[in-house]
C-alpha cells in the first residue's frame, strides 16, 4: 500500500483532498439547511465557464473559476433578495447561461481535449503544487470565517426573521456566505470536478442529518463522512485507475445508503 506515496501526484491529491474534505461540510451544512443546494450546482456550472476562459487565455483555470463563481454568487443573492424573479429561476438563468458561454468558448478554442474532462469529473493527476497553496489559503479563509461567524450563521439558517429582529446584519452574512460557497466550489474543482461538487457539499451533511443530533454533533459527523470518503476515494481511484471525483461521490452515496439502512433497522 505504501508504494502509492512514491508518486508525487497522489501525495498532492491527498493533501488537496483532505483540505477539501475538511472544509466542504462547513459550507455544506448551511447550504443544505438553508435549501441552497441548487446554488452549489449553479455556481459549479458557472465555474465551468470560468475554467473555459482560463484555458482559452492560458491563465490558471482555478483563478478564473474563482472569479466567475464569486461574481455570480453575489449577483444571484441580489436577484434572490430583490424578489424581482423567483429564486430558482435566477439559478437556472445562471446555470444554463454559463453553460452556454462555456460551450461557445470551448468551440472557439476547438476543444481543449483531455484537460477539460479532468475539470468536469476531477482528476488528482492535474493537481499542481501551486493549486495546493491556493486550496490551503482559500480553504483557511473559509474555515476561519465560518468559525468566527458560527453563531450568526446558525441563527440565520434556523430563523432568519428572528435573527433580523435581534439586530444581526443578516444581508451582509447572506452575501458573505454565498461568497464563501463560491470560493469552496472553485477550490474543489481539481479533486471532485465541476459536475460532482454539489454531491461533495450535500451528501455528507444529508447523511449526518439522518443521525438526528444537535448542530455541532451533526457537523462533526459530516466531517467524518466527508474526510473518510475523500481519502478512501482517492486511494481507490488510484488503484483502479478511475476518476477520483466519481469514486468519492459513489463512496459518499454508499455511506448514505448504509446509514439509512441502519436507521430503518433501528426503528423496527
Amino acid at each position: 500500500m505504501l508504494e502509492i506515496f512514491q508518486y508525487g501526484f497522489i501525495v498532492r491529491g491527498l493533501e488537496a483532498g483532505i483540505l477539501i474534505g475538511l472544509i466542504a461540510p462547513l459550507i455544506g451544512i448551511f447550504l443544505v439547511l438553508r435549501r441552497y443546494s441548487l446554488i452549489a450546482d449553479t455556481l459549479s456550472h458557472v465555474s465551468l465557464a470560468g475554467v473555459a476562459i482560463g484555458l482559452l487565455f492560458k491563465i490558471n483555470p482555478l483563478w478564473t473559476a474563482l472569479g466567475a463563481s464569486a461574481i455570480s454568487s453575489i449577483a444571484i443573492e441580489r436577484l434572490r433578495v430583490s424578489k424581482k424573479i423567483y429564486g430558482e429561476t435566477a439559478l437556472s438563468i445562471f446555470l444554463s447561461g454559463s453553460l452556454a458561454l462555456a460551450v461557445v468558448i470551448i468551440g472557439l478554442a476547438h476543444g481543449f481535449s483531455v484537460d477539460l474532462f479532468s475539470y468536469l469529473f476531477g482528476s488528482i493527476v492535474t493537481v499542481k503544487q501551486t493549486d495546493i497553496f491556493l486550496i490551503f489559503g482559500l480553504g483557511a479563509l473559509i474555515a476561519i470565517s465560518i468559525f468566527l461567524f458560527y453563531k450568526e450563521l446558525v441563527y440565520i439558517a434556523f430563523d432568519e426573521e428572528a435573527a433580523t429582529v435581534a439586530g444581526l446584519p443578516v444581508k451582509i452574512f447572506n452575501t458573505l456566505f454565498v461568497l464563501l460557497a463560491a470560493v469552496m466550489i472553485a477550490i474543489s474543482i481539481p479533486i471532485i470536478g465541476i459536475l460532482l461538487i454539489s454531491a461533495l457539499l450535500v451528501l455528507p451533511t444529508i447523511t449526518a442529518l439522518q443521525l438526528k443530533k444537535g448542530f455541532k454533533t451533526t457537523l462533526l459527523w459530516a466531517e467524518i463522512f466527508s474526510i473518510f470518503s475523500i481519502i478512501s476515494g482517492i486511494i481507490t481511484s488510484f488503484y483502479l485507475n478511475i476518476s477520483s471525483g466519481g469514486t468519492i461521490v459513489l463512496i459518499m452515496l454508499m455511506i448514505f445508503g448504509v446509514v439509512l439502512l441502519i436507521k430503518n433497522y433501528d426503528q423496527k
Binding site: L33, D159, E161, A162, A163, V165, A166, K212, G214, T217
Partner: protein, 253 residues
Amino acid sequence: MPIDHQKNIIEVKDISFSYGDVEVLKNITLDIHEGDYISLIGPNGGGKTTLLKIMLGLIIPQNGAVKLFGKDIKDFKDWSKFGYVPQKAINFDPLFPITVREVVAMGRYGKKGLLKWLNKKDQEIIDDALTQVEMSNHANRLIGNLSSGQQQRVFIARALAGEPKVIFLDEPTVGVDVKNQEEFYTLLTHLNRDLNITLILISHDVDVVSHQVTELACLNQTLVYHGEPKKFMKGHYLDELYGKNARFVDHKH
C-alpha cells in the same frame, strides 16, 4: 426597579401602510407603555402582523413615525431590548438538527455582538431561561422531537435569554392544544407580572386573550378599539370588527 406604567416605550404615530394598491393600515396611532400586556386582535388581513413588523423595523411604513424607547426607529440600535417569538408553524423546520439548548443560546447572540463567544455568565442566563419555561429537563433533546406546546416554550426561552424589556409574540398558540394553551398563558402572565416584561401578543383568539391581557388593541385597517378588554367585550366593537353575525362565547374562568 419599579416600572413606570405611564412611560411610553413604543410610540406609533399616524402609520399607514399599503401592499401595492391594498391599504392594510390607515392612520394608526398607538402607544405602548412599560409593563403593558397588550394583545393586537382583529380579522385576518386586518393588519396585525404588518403593524408588528413595522414596530420591529422589519418593514417600513409609507407614512407615519415609530419611536422605540423615545428614539426614532431609524436611529434605534438597541434591538436586544426586544424579544421575538415568531409564528412557529411558518418559520420552523422540524428537521433542523438543533438541540433545545442550542436554540435558547441564540437568544444571547444578538446581545453578545460579533466575534464574541458565550461565556459562563451567558450559559447561566440560558439555564435560567430554560428553568423559567420549565424546559431544563429537555435541554439536550432535538427541538423537532418536542410537542408544539414545548416548542413554543423553547421559543419563549430563546426570547428570555436576550434579557428583553419587551417580547413580541405572533400568534404563538397556533397548533397548540387547549390544555397547553392554558399553561402557556399562565407562563405569559408570570413573565409580565413577576419579570416586568412588556408583552405584545398577536392573536385571533379574541375570547381567550381578553381574559388574559390588560389591554386590547383591535385592528381592522384602522385602530377600532384600544383599551381594557372588559369595555371591549361590552361594546359593539365585535360587530364592527367581524360583522354583525359573529358570536363569541364568553367563558367565565
